[in-house]
């Protein structure tokens, strides 16, 4: 596989997906022997009248494209907040570059560990807990407990005015049955499509394969129903209409997609007899 140096953004993106919410995604192309597949590495910009918040930072290798997209969308204003869902490169890797570009930016969220990884941004760190709200002016951003996570300091976010729930690595899946890679991928041309617009629906096997590797613990914990019941409860409680994962297409029809992801998660469990 040829290593790509520059991540690209599809010409279909950035795209407005809900009131004040713009989907920005750089797509990393993977060149396989016989085809090219893409992996989403999305960031989302939520804008209000006086402030804006970037959800996840994208990979450092896509910084040039993220930076110029922000220039275009912010139109001369400063980025006020960034909400990294958890400290892995695709989600937080551009924090130092963002602080350099916007020295007054507030990094909000579960900021534990960040002082160890990025000592130079300590003055910008503003820890938040679930329930905390950030006012953007006619638009709010609410910090929400992550119900599916891969690190203890993962957080989710919600924009009530737009009905969008930001779920980090939760609800990531690959939707092409014929693709065998374990990363959530799509085909060129699908970069800016929502799940409602995709021609081939997600299959349970896709979700199972992805869950089994990316949420490795699913093979040991036989509690998918409990997990997704809580997620559905959250969706009802908050009034979520769509879900924005970092990897994978924007989910416009969460009620249709959730049962598939749940079934896939269930299938990832490996052991017949539960622990006594």
């Amino acid at each position: 596989m040829e290593e790509q140096l520059v991540e690209t953004m599809s010409s279909d993106l950035p795209r407005s997906v809900a009131k004040g919410v713009t989907w920005m995604s750089s797509c990393l192309p993977f060149h396989l022997a016989d085809r090219v597949i893409h992996g989403h590495n999305s960031t989302y910009l939520v804008q209000g009248e006086h402030s804006s918040i970037l959800v996840d930072t994208g990979n450092p290798s896509s910084w040039p494209i993220i930076s110029s997209t922000l220039d275009e969308l912010l139109d001369g204003r400063e980025l006020t907040y960034v909400f990294p869902t958890h400290p892995e490169l695709p989600h937080t890797g551009n924090l130092p570059r963002l602080v350099e570009k916007y020295p007054n930016i507030q990094v909000v969220g579960d900021t534990r560990d960040y002082h160890l990884f990025y000592p130079q941004i300590v003055p910008n760190l503003h820890a938040k807990v679930p329930g905390d709200k950030v006012d953007l002016g006619g638009q709010e951003f609410v910090v929400v407990e992550a119900l599916i996570r891969d690190l203890p300091n993962t957080q989710w976010g919600f924009a009530p005015g737009a009905g969008v729930l930001f779920t980090a690595d939760g609800f990531c899946y690959m939707h092409r049955p014929e693709l065998d890679d374990e990363d959530p991928v799509h085909l060129p041309g699908e970069c800016g499509l929502t799940t409602g617009e995709l021609q081939v629906p997600i299959a349970v096997e896709n979700a199972a394969f992805f869950t089994g590797s990316a949420l490795y613990w699913a093979r040991f914990a036989n509690d998918a129903d409990a997990v997704y019941d809580r997620v559905l409860h959250l969706i009802d409680e908050l009034g979520v209409t769509s879900v924005a994962p970092t990897h994978g297409n924007f989910i416009s029809n969460i009620r249709d997609v959730e049962p598939i992801i749940r079934a896939g998660h269930k299938r990832a469990y490996r052991y017949e007899t539960a622990q006594s």
Binding site: E3, L89, F117, S213
Partner: protein, 275 residues
């Protein structure tokens, strides 16, 4: 400050993390100081660094490396995980030393954190250690090998007990098992405390402490089917009979008695109803 674990063969370097409520991977209310570890394996003039420590310790890691391998010296690096506690000194190390080879697994390429120019210069030095993934994503059927120098290899395996893509290393020469983010429970009262638990120190570790640290990061353990994990761990330790457990953070566990005691703690922690 670095400490030799095995003369001319293995050194541990890194700083301490104050446990002050701002660290996610320790149990709530944990206090004291947790060592953050990088390990330098040496064989003649060849060196392999296992993990790179935390950015907040960058200065001391770089100074220690300069003393150990010479200013601008060549070194290969193996990352047990692509998480920030392992990789966050890659860039400063690349700026001051010659990274000869970089061994990583998973899909995250740590060189992606570099600017285009440096990435260009370093491309080709990265070796994907899990290029051949097993069908079911379990521990690798046959361990990959990293040659430190002719005749000295580090065997690499993806452990069954893991959270994110993770690799354990086994150095037969020194009897050292590199366990990444497990066996991380050894903390110190003072920043200048003893970062190695061996037969010469009073070991006050309890099973609750081991479980607390394990569950802080592996929060799913208490609600999971753990028999396969215990079996795997037991078999691993029986086969290898390690003399040193070398985690990415926490005290180094040294000596067969110490290793056996801490394995028992871990097996009990993996039996949640006992804790």
């Amino acid at each position: 400050m670095f400490t030799s674990l095995h003369t001319d063969k293995l050194t541990v370097l890194g700083g301490n993390i104050p446990l002050d409520g701002r660290v996610s991977w320790v149990p709530e209310g944990a206090t004291g100081f947790q060592p953050s570890n990088a390990y330098l394996l040496t064989e003649g003039t060849s060196r392999l660094l296992v993990d790179s420590g935390l950015a907040v310790h960058s200065e001391e890691i770089l100074e220690d490396l300069a003393e150990l391998i010479g200013e601008g010296g060549g070194v290969s690096i193996f990352f047990t995980r692509s998480e920030m506690d392992c990789v966050s000194n890659l860039e400063p190390i690349a700026g001051r030393f010659d990274i000869e080879r970089l061994f990583t697994g998973g899909v995250i390429n740590p060189f992606d954190a570099f600017d285009d120019l440096s990435r260009m210069a370093l491309r080709g030095r990265r070796h994907q250690i899990d290029a051949h993934r097993t069908e079911e994503g379990d521990s690798l059927a046959r361990a990959a090998e990293i040659e430190i120098a002719p005749g000295r290899v580090l065997q690499v395996e993806s452990p069954l007990l893991r959270l994110l893509p993770t690799f354990w290393g086994w150095d037969e020469e020194t009897g050292t098992l590199f366990t990444s983010d497990t066996f991380t429970h050894g903390v110190m009262d003072r920043p200048d405390g003893q970062r190695i638990i061996d037969s010469t120190v009073e070991d006050t570790t309890t099973v609750e402490q081991v479980a607390g640290h394990l569950y802080a990061k592996y929060e799913w353990i208490p609600r999971s089917t753990c028999e396969p994990l215990r079996e795997w761990l037991q078999e691993k330790f029986q086969t290898l009979d390690p003399e040193i457990i070398a985690p990415s953070r926490g005290c180094v566990l040294k000596g067969r008695d110490v290793v056996r005691r801490h394995l028992d703690f871990m097996l009990d922690a993996l039996t949640p109803q006992l804790v």
